[in-house]
């Protein structure tokens, strides 16, 4: 139902765009290069948009509207796309239609009723229709001189038609909040999308999103940068906001980059990039690329010429396993031991496996006489020879113990003697990562990874979606077909039983 509603809304948007592009006399307002950002997306109730022309903000918008729009980080263009199947590839020219959209930053005034096209509108200067690139433009809304008039559509089928209508566009103050002099509206969010444009009485209601205006000065102590606002009516606690630099969570060498993180945000201030440099005998020139090799490093962030830093050391894995010195047999059947314990530090994507091997093929021997036994993890457990420990289990204070005991065969009728065996426990750190080869490209992944995680694990190898990316397609074993194959989504988890293939740009 939700999907249908969204499709309907998208179709409406699509239809409006097409129809208006045919209307004579529709002018275009020139847009500055970076004045994208205000992008209404119908059917995305609660989505928030910012008019701040920064890439970060656009990335946030992209996240909120992942299904409807995308940001091309190379061209800085927002792409809005629509398709009756729900999900489409952005440049799949053969099966869908999409638009490059520019929007215009707006001054939103609380309480004012806007008409789409009066001051809130966006426009497209290029779109694709069934593989053909169309040039031209349309305005989403009426001519400014025709306030209260709105072009709407009566049906959402493939027949594009438009009528003049009147749909008030209301931007209200957020409930329970009154703007003060230190605040500025920065955009709007959809507050009520009950109107679908199918009737002149329906309306689409938006609510202003506001932000405070701040005038920050910065100080830094150790790992923290503090921004202090000088505005009299600043509502920040103590008029301050902080950024705190945290070292990488797991500092055991794993071959992958160890990235520090920044906790906290400063309103309307872009979080600075983290820089890394080697410390002491570690040679590593200053870089925004996080280090992978063992050694001593310093990570830092700088804001307003104030720098916070944190030192960290990437080290090799080390651990301790505690094994039973002897397996004492007191009776036939279950004989408990103190178990096997592991503690220490290993990399996140690894596990420690402890395997047991018997010198006498799982028999206690006295001369030529034998009493067989096996190791297990419970009184009624099956024979086992391996115990796995996760990185998290090792890091617990004192380590983690796993039950181990010997189940011994009935030996009442065996000849008397000293029966003995020696068990050797072998410990090995093993990777939790698997590999999959797609069209000759080997990728690593962990069980349960989403494709977004796999993209992160395999930098420079694949990306999903976007105008210059390789895209991954799953072969024809899914009921949803688009062009004969189904594209994976970033949120899809990998299924090694499926066959995947790349679709080149």
């Amino acid at each position: 139902m939700k999907h249908k509603a969204r499709t309907k809304a998208l179709s409406w948007l699509l239809s409006l765009a097409l129809a208006l592009s045919l209307l004579p006399g529709m002018g275009l307002t020139a847009q500055a290069a970076n004045t994208y950002s205000l992008v209404p997306a119908y059917g995305q109730s609660g989505a928030t948009y910012s008019i701040t022309p920064s890439e970060d903000t656009l990335a946030a918008v992209k996240t909120a509207l992942a299904a409807e729009m995308s940001l091309d980080t190379e061209t800085k263009e927002i792409w809005l796309y629509a398709d009756n199947y729900g999900y489409v590839e952005l440049d799949n020219l053969s099966s869908t239609m999409y638009y490059k959209v520019k929007s215009k930053p707006q001054e939103i005034v609380a309480g004012k009723t806007y008409v789409i096209g009066d001051s809130l509108y966006f426009e497209a200067d290029k779109y694709y229709n069934n593989g053909a690139v169309q040039t031209g433009s349309f305005i989403f809304g009426p001519d400014v001189s025709k306030a209260q008039e709105f072009y709407r559509f009566d049906n959402f089928d493939s027949r594009w038609s438009a009528k003049l209508g009147s749909i008030p566009f209301v931007c209200e103050e957020p409930s329970g909040h009154t703007f003060n002099s230190s605040e500025q509206p920065i955009g709007f969010k959809l507050a009520d999308d009950s109107g679908d444009g199918s009737s002149a009485q329906n309306y689409i209601k938006f609510e202003a999103v506001y932000a405070e205006r701040h005038n920050f000065t910065y100080t830094a102590t150790s790992d923290t940068i503090t921004a202090t606002c000088s505005a009299d009516d600043c509502t920040l606690t103590n008029k301050q906001a902080t950024l705190t630099l945290k070292p990488p969570a797991n500092l055991v060498y794993s071959g992958s980059a160890k990235e520090a993180t920044v906790e906290g945000t400063i309103p309307d201030v872009e979080t600075p990039s983290i820089k890394y440099i080697g410390r002491g005998n570690t040679a590593y020139n200053e870089s925004t690329t996080a280090p992978t090799a063992t050694g001593d490093y310093t990570a830092s962030v700088t804001l307003g010429e104030k720098t916070a830093s944190v030192d960290f050391t990437i080290k090799d894995a080390s651990y301790t396993i505690t094994i039973p010195a002897k397996l004492t047999v007191e009776n036939a059947g279950w004989n408990a031991t103190a178990g096997v314990t592991a503690s220490g530090e290993i990399a996140e994507d690894t596990k420690l496996t402890v395997t047991a091997a018997s010198a006498n093929e799982w028999a206690l021997k006295s001369g030529e006489n034998t009493v067989s036994y096996y190791l297990t993890d419970a009184e009624d457990g099956k024979a086992m020879t391996a115990w796995d420990f996760t990185a998290e289990e090792l890091s617990v204070e004192g380590g983690t113990s796993k039950t181990m005991g010997a189940v011994v065969e009935e030996y009442i009728n065996k000849p008397a003697g000293d029966y003995a065996d020696t068990v050797t426990f072998t410990a090995e750190i093993r990777s939790l990562l698997n590999t999959i080869t797609i069209d000759g490209t080997e990728l690593i992944y962990a069980d349960g990874d989403t494709w977004a995680q796999i993209v992160e694990r395999n930098p420079q190898k694949i990306r999903i979606a976007g105008s210059s990316n390789n895209r991954i397609w799953r072969a024809q074993d899914n009921p949803l077909y688009i062009g004969g194959r189904t594209p994976v989504l970033p949120t899809d988890t990998i299924d090694p039983s499926l066959k995947y293939g790349f679709e080149a740009d």
Binding site: Y253, A317, T320, I323, P324, A325, I346, L352, T426
Partner: protein, 141 residues
């Protein structure tokens, strides 16, 4: 003068603490404090760093003081080549320098550090352990 004497005494004490065994150097890092002897704590490593082209290597291979077992350690490449076998190492002691049977070129080598364990009470054999690791052999100046 008194300061010089103090330095000599300190150096002498260090020399007495460290002793050589079969070309290896053993240092006591803690007093033995054996527990019940029910368990044995085995130090594990993912990587051991060695110097290329040298038989004498600086390491730190220890026997935790809480053990009631002596370790006889053997380092072997996965191709079966034994690189080193140490004398029995008591709880609270560590090898800090060992002498390999052969030199290694720079590179990565899969290897196993084997622990044969013996009771400190009666020298009887106990369960043992093996640690699978990588030898990272670095070029030296």
């Amino acid at each position: 003068m008194m300061r010089k004497i103090a330095v000599y005494i300190l150096v002498l004490a260090l020399l007495l603490t460290a002793c050589s065994s079969g070309g290896d150097t053993v240092e006591r890092f803690a007093e033995a404090n054996p527990g019940s002897g029910e368990n044995i704590a085995i130090p594990g490593y993912e990587t051991l760093s060695l110097a290329a082209g040298k038989k004498t290597q600086t390491v730190y291979l220890k026997n935790p003081p809480e053990n009631a077992a002596a370790f006889v350690m053997t380092l072997a490449l996965d191709d079966g080549t034994t690189l080193w076998t140490g004398e029995a190492l008591q709880p609270g002691e560590a090898f800090t320098r060992i002498t390999l049977t052969r030199t290694l070129d720079a590179g990565e080598y899969p290897a196993t550090l084997r622990y044969d364990c013996y009771s400190t009470a009666d020298n009887s054999p106990l369960n043992g352990a093996e640690i699978k690791l990588n030898l990272t052999v670095h070029e030296t100046d």
